[in-house]
């Protein structure tokens, strides 16, 4: 699946997006893979919301290879 990073998360991961192969995951499984790829993401886990295909996900969301997943750190628009 395609993973997008924004704002300071791009500095942490040093990329704006990455591809994460993984099949069918729940949020915990997804975070585990993300932290494996970028260990420093761990400290942002509690403040980051996940979006799937341009929508915030619910707790029970599942993520598959065709999804576009975005890590949304606290926003500051306006």
């Amino acid at each position: 699946m395609r993973i997008l990073f924004f704002a300071h998360l791009k500095d942490i991961t040093r990329c704006a997006e990455m591809n994460l192969p993984g099949g069918d995951l729940d949020a915990d499984g997804l975070w585990q893979k993300l932290i494996e790829a970028h260990p420093r993401l761990d400290q942002f886990r509690t403040s980051v919301r996940l979006a799937k295909n341009s929508e915030y996900v619910r707790r029970d969301a599942r993520f598959t290879d065709t999804d576009e997943v975005a890590l949304i750190p606290p926003v500051s628009g306006g």
Binding site: H8, A51, S54, E55, Y56, P73, V75, G77, G78
Partner: protein, 138 residues
């Protein structure tokens, strides 16, 4: 109700027309949020905004639709800058036409609260005058 949403990297026009919302509109309110000359106590010359574009627009539309359900708002326009926005320029412009002012004021206040909580747009960098000048010469 008509909704108009735009993310743009060029300056927001100083004078936007109120929509031709007909004889039913009793209230038109426009808000501009401008970049101020200081951020976290330091003097700045500009802010850089970043957006997750498709989701930001989807989310803005979703919030407006939710907030106006059962209301008589007639028109909402939201324009948000992305990229570098110099001090004094508008980062956001929200225009609302409604039958009555209370609906327009309420929607404006609540929409801005929700935008600042949920819409994936970030102030990703504050630029000093030197940094801004350097960017312009590139």
């Amino acid at each position: 109700m008509k909704i108009e949403i735009r993310l743009t990297d060029i300056p927001i026009a100083e004078h936007l027309s109120a929509p031709a919302s007909g004889v039913g509109a009793g209230a038109w309110v426009e808000f501009r949020g401008m970049v101020r000359g200081e951020e976290n106590g330091g003097v700045i010359a500009a802010l850089e905004y970043e957006a997750y574009s498709p989701m930001a627009e989807t989310e803005i539309r979703r919030i407006i639709t939710e907030l106006t359900s059962g209301q008589s708002c007639l028109f909402v326009r939201v324009i948000h800058r992305v990229g570098i926005v110099p001090v004094g320029e508008a980062a956001i412009c929200v225009g609302i036409a409604a039958r009555h002012r209370a609906e327009a004021f309420g929607l404006l206040t609540e929409f801005m609260n929700r935008l600042k909580r949920d819409v994936p747009i970030w102030k990703c960098r504050a630029l000093t005058a030197d940094e801004l000048a350097e960017l312009k010469t590139q």
